[in-house]
Symmetry: C2
Subunit: 322 residues, 2 copies
């Protein structure tokens, strides 16, 4: 009895990614012993061609982007990564090499982040290719970082740099100058989830989330959860050299930088006295952390101030699918 192509495809491209508990992807489900004495942290994200990535993005980066956006969710909760499940809905006429690149990219990230495939599903689709990934991580009981917990007077921190992802998308669409292989485009295609920093912030940050739909909108979510307001100083928002150069030439990009999506940096709150420790732990985690403002009493309003203290009008605050 020969196997139909669907099963040959799974055996060739996905089975090599399977780790402990996956039963070589040959049973109906995975069986996993949860880490003793830990809470599980779980998140799921979907990605659709033309919405979350460009249809001509290299297949090597597409799976990695989805895995990394999910890792970023774990990072924001302070969790250590454990394993993931992946569903892929693919056109029937996919070029033969496409899946080889896709799975090779995932294998690379599995090694980098110490994680493996637990299970999933592969189906055909008459529409754009789409993926969904569920990630599992773990954290000490009661220690997960939440969006609730920021207090007026505490500092607003952000990791890494803001705006690279949205500017990288503009570069890839030809709306801004730049190389498809350059820093900004690479940041769009390959987010850098702050997994080590997230875990280092447990017990230190009072609230945290990841910035995925735009800094201002996401800060608003954190304010709503915590019941406070916030103001940030635009000049303090950390930018990459590439983003800073573009902004210097085109000051009108500022709202896009502050409200564009695809940053996948950590946004978190901490009391002022924790500043030195945060800076040290961030450095030990291999990424900078920058104070960009403070939480305020009152309504969940986010104000962005210019160098003279004036409020900067932004138009929209971030990305919405609907």
């Amino acid at each position: 009895m020969t196997l139909p192509p669907e099963f040959a495809l799974i055996a060739r491209h996905f089975r090599p990614l399977a780790g402990p508990g996956a039963l070589e992807l040959s049973d109906d489900a995975a069986v996993m012993t949860p880490p003793p004495g830990r809470e599980l942290v779980l998140a799921a994200d979907a990605m659709v061609a033309g919405v979350h990535f460009l249809p001509d993005d290299p297949s090597e980066t597409i799976g990695r982007k989805l895995l990394r956006t999910n890792l970023s969710d774990l990072a924001s909760m302070g969790a250590a990564p454990l394993a993931y499940l992946l569903t892929a809905s693919l056109p029937r006429d996919l070029p033969p090499d496409w899946l080889a690149g896709f799975s090779a990219g995932l294998a690379q990230d599995q090694a980098e982040f110490g994680i493996s495939l637990l299970g999933g599903d592969t189906t055909s689709t008459p529409g754009p290719m789409s993926f969904s990934l569920t990630i599992l991580g773990h954290v000490a009981p009661g220690q997960a970082l939440r969006r609730v917990g920021a207090m007026p007077g505490q500092d607003i921190w952000v990791s890494g740099t803001i705006g690279d992802g949205t500017l990288g998308l503009a570069v890839l669409l030809g709306e801004l100058p730049g190389e498809a292989g350059g820093h900004l485009a690479t940041r769009y295609r390959l987010p850098r989830p702050r997994v080590a920093l997230g875990q280092a912030l447990v017990g230190l940050a009072t609230a945290a989330m990841d910035v995925s739909d735009g800094l201002v909108q996401d800060l608003g979510h954190l304010c709503r959860a915590s019941g406070c307001g916030a103001e940030i100083e635009a000049a303090r928002v950390p930018l990459s050299a590439e983003a800073a150069a573009l902004l210097a030439a085109r000051p009108e990009l500022l709202p896009r930088i502050l409200t564009g999506g695809d940053d996948y940096e950590l946004l978190f709150a901490a009391p002022p006295e924790a500043a030195a420790e945060i800076t040290a732990r961030a450095a030990a985690s291999g990424v900078a952390a920058t104070r960009i403002g403070r939480f305020l009493p009152g309504e969940a309003v986010v104000t962005v101030r210019d160098a003279r203290g004036g409020a900067i009008p932004l138009g929209r605050e971030g990305w919405s699918h609907f």
Copy 2:
């Protein structure tokens, strides 16, 4: 600050489904304490409009079908359901009532199967709507039912009835006579995962899986995993009254019944001396179990025999996406 429509949509239609650990869907991830002393069982399935369900299927049944196909995976492992994560990729022009029906259907099944929503993601898509669901269940350590374990001489069992789903699809497509609200069409839209039976078979069945891509093909998977062959007697395969009536009028439907997908029944192996106990436990679980053949020594070949013992040619053995 007003929330963009995406967040209002989640709050209205998905937050009411959120259960323990979901943090009201307002954090980046869910946090769950795994059941102490149990292994976790995890599965993920995707569904695409036009592939796994009909675009004009009622929205009340679409989410339930996906949840039930995942519950069927848990059932096949002998696991008790715990919680699920859902990603939904939806057209921007979805009618307002569509999601209300979708979530109402899920709420109904959450109550029926004692399960709740843990997290997920909602995105837009320019293509057909698609969904992915990851389900979590639990089982006593080392007790999960697997596809490996069937032995030559053991009986082949199947729960419920075979062929209703594929015949129901044909009815809905107008290829066979029948009502859209009738038994067969309902079986296509709403599988009946054998969750209670699966758990009752732990320690009794030697191997198990669910039939989702056609009885003959799926039995072949079980044979390959267990390293044996199988023969089934077509006349013993349990049919609903509706399927039996169609088959009597159109004997050429037999291959479709034996190889069509969407059964979501349990297929399992057990030694002959367990027969009485299996029949009793199945009855206690509210579903019939039927012996349809036996496992044989040798290669993983599945033979379907007619009443005179001759092999019935089937053409394809089951569904493949590629």
